[in-house]
Subunit: 209 residues, 2 copies
């Protein structure tokens, strides 16, 4: 342990080092930087961090984070409420939004079924998803969960529960990443990308047709 | 730029991303972590960060950071006030303290002379050092500045100004790092370590004599 000769510095370093991916040395570097920063800027940082807890809530419809009861995506009348994309996490919403390829709504599960990590059906927002879908307005449910055993398990569980309520259940394509070399792809991915091969014309001219 | 669909989240991410070495993606990861953290823990983090500005000052003697007017090192009667080690930065104080090989006091310059970066003599605590040394109680001044052109320039400037006031001015040894292979050392360091070669007996039995 570093000895720091200032209890206030040591306290700050200990708290900053609790952040994920931040070790004691990085925490010390950040704390020393903050000591040299203008008081107004430090004030701004701490205010904005506090507001993460006080002014952000979970959207009542999709469980995305939001500044209001209903998030901007769910409240947007231009978005297609008949298509719901199921994701694990808020980060996935951000990632998909940044592709600009999706115009429906989301449902943030809050994780995937993982008995190893103690995440069961009740810890996730699965019942909320089934209730949402049960209203009968949803035309397509897109499963965009991680391509892991846990993700697949969750996919199957959702599919089993919604298949009678939704006309179309899809899952995002697995395959070789754009810009990726075939020789470095694992054989399962490569195998699946062969099985799920696409009509050339459709794959390359999707956006123009 | 990531679009985040929450002004509060975006504000927090922007502030966190101003920290050194923290990009937008890391800032987002930290902010999402904080959203999930218990309110008391976030409160503790922001309080401790605020205290860095309100409750930490600069030691009036050595300019190390301190919770009091005089820092714990300067206030410690067991430390040898006749030996002063000149360092660039608070981090160097912490690094030297962690070696447990030094029992004197420090003088934190706040940088080194670097015209390229606009750091001149007046931006550093050089006059304060000369005043401290001028009182005549200092027996040895150890220069522990970085082994760069700027560090060397500052070393020479200090030496010129204190040589008549201090019986002994030393500088920390330059040489091959412990555990380092000779073939990977640059030739200047290797050359200096040959010129400044040590009596074997002294080098290996220093602590026992």
């Amino acid at each position: 342990m570093l000895s720091l000769y200032s209890q206030n510095l040591e306290n700050a370093v200990n708290e900053i080092a609790k952040l994920p991916g931040v070790g004691k040395r990085t925490a010390l570097r950040l704390a020393l930087h903050l000591i040299k920063t203008e008081p107004e800027d430090v004030q701004l940082l701490t205010d904005r961090i506090s507001k993460l807890k006080t002014d952000i809530c979970s959207c009542k419809v999709c469980y995305n984070i939001s500044d209001h009861e209903i998030c901007d995506i769910c409240a947007n009348p231009k978005r297609d409420a008949a298509v719901i994309c199921v994701v694990q996490d808020i980060r996935d919403v951000i990632a998909i939004e940044n592709t600009s390829q999706f115009n429906g709504l989301y449902h943030v599960l809050g994780g995937v079924i993982s008995p190893m990590e103690g995440v069961g059906i009740r810890q996730l927002r699965l019942q909320e998803l089934f209730d949402r879908v049960g209203k009968g307005d949803v035309k397509e449910l897109i499963l965009a969960l991680p391509a892991t055993v846990e993700g697949d398990t969750t996919n199957f569980f959702i599919y089993k529960n919604v298949k009678d309520k939704v006309p179309l259940v899809t899952t995002i394509a697995r395959g070789i990443g754009v810009g990726e070399e075939l020789e470095y792809a694992d054989e399962v991915t490569l195998g699946r990308s062969l099985v799920a091969r696409l009509d050339f014309d459709k794959a390359y001219n999707k956006n123009t047709k």
